[in-house]
Symmetry: C2
């Protein structure tokens, strides 16, 4: 049985879940309390992070490495373009979200508001939350600028870059930290990706103690 060890609101886990669902690879989802660094878990992934994917007997870690692997072994639908310049742009944007957006926004909003409480690390630091609220606006404006020139984030086709971005934004949307009225084209892009069958599983997530707002799972938000 294929399994994904994950936590529901982790954007890195969500990116992998979206890619698995697009590729129609069925997995059992297993919630992993990775912060407890349980010995069994560390055997599966010495890095001690989620996601960890058990696929055909192998244990795979690092979300970007997993997603590119999945795209190489299961090319339908393709999530990486063929041309090196276009592939570069997809990887640049995955790096943008998984590094810059993660550090400036996800860490300051989601981790302060949710992860700290779940992992018993206390209360949100208001300085960090303020920095995150400022940064998310700048990032939404950058998305707006990209989508003013392109149908999807990295070009005219949907790619892994769209899933990397949607993984972070959907996790923030779960705690109402995305202002969808800031840009019509960002909202249209998110509506397109949110209505894909691959997204259903993510929209059904429920984290105890943090009920999602009504618009979270609504396709007409």
């Amino acid at each position: 049985m294929n399994r994904l060890f994950h936590v529901p609101l982790s954007p890195f886990c969500r990116k992998v879940r979206l890619v698995l669902a697009e590729k129609k690879i069925e997995v059992e989802l297993v919630e992993e309390r990775y912060w407890e660094q349980d010995a069994d878990f560390l055997r599966r992934n010495p890095a001690g992070k989620v996601p960890v994917l058990k696929l055909n007997g192998m244990f795979l870690a690092e979300s970007q490495a997993i997603c590119e692997y999945l795209d190489e072994v299961e090319p339908t639908p393709p999530l990486m373009p063929r041309n090196p310049e276009e592939r570069y742009e997809v990887r640049r944007l995955c790096g943008w979200f998984d590094d810059k957006f993660h550090n400036e926004v996800t860490r300051n909003l989601l981790y302060e508001r949710v992860n700290k409480k779940i992992t018993g690390q206390g209360y949100p630091e208001s300085r960090n939350v303020k920095a995150g609220s400022r940064a998310v606006k700048v990032h939404l404006d950058y998305l707006h600028w990209l989508l003013d020139q392109r149908r999807w984030l990295a070009g005219d086709a949907m790619t892994l870059a769209d899933f990397a971005a949607a993984a972070h934004l959907s996790a923030l949307d779960y705690i109402s930290d995305v202002d969808w009225n800031r840009s019509a084209n960002v909202k249209d892009w998110y509506a397109k990706i949110k209505s894909r069958p691959a997204f259903r599983n993510i929209l059904a997530d429920q984290v105890p103690g943090f009920p999602p707002p009504g618009h979270y799972a609504d396709l007409d938000f």
Copy 2:
């Protein structure tokens, strides 16, 4: 003229410099005071980070995206294997170094001791330096374990994973933060990679106020 906007001790810049040199792509190195977030620099890379590579008129950012792009457009010598499982392992290890090693070691040692001073952010926090000193041992033991089973980090051929690791370790070695006596096979691996012509340029780095130790550029260290 191709140009790399960089800082000498940045492991991400060093990874790109090593790949460029292996591929025999000549670039002019331009030191970039990225922390000043100069408007020209932000036009070249809105992420505000180094490295930024100007190549054939394009500006490229995000070290992993740049390295994979360089390997795709200039395949000699190949730094990515052909087989998807082996490619996955290279990318997993690049993620290991650029995320886990970076956060646990590079940030706590190099950034505390050098970057803080250069960017005017004050003195090293001894708690962080201690955490970095503990973590580097764990990582060297992990490298030892890998190299006990493999000639190079990701398998039997030299790959991008070796350059990602060597980029971090060489920057730490510049401030004498790597104990090469901890593992003979890690030392042998580093000696092999350090003696490559692509490494020469990195061994010639000089950062004002931080003279390198004698063994840094010595191939027989």
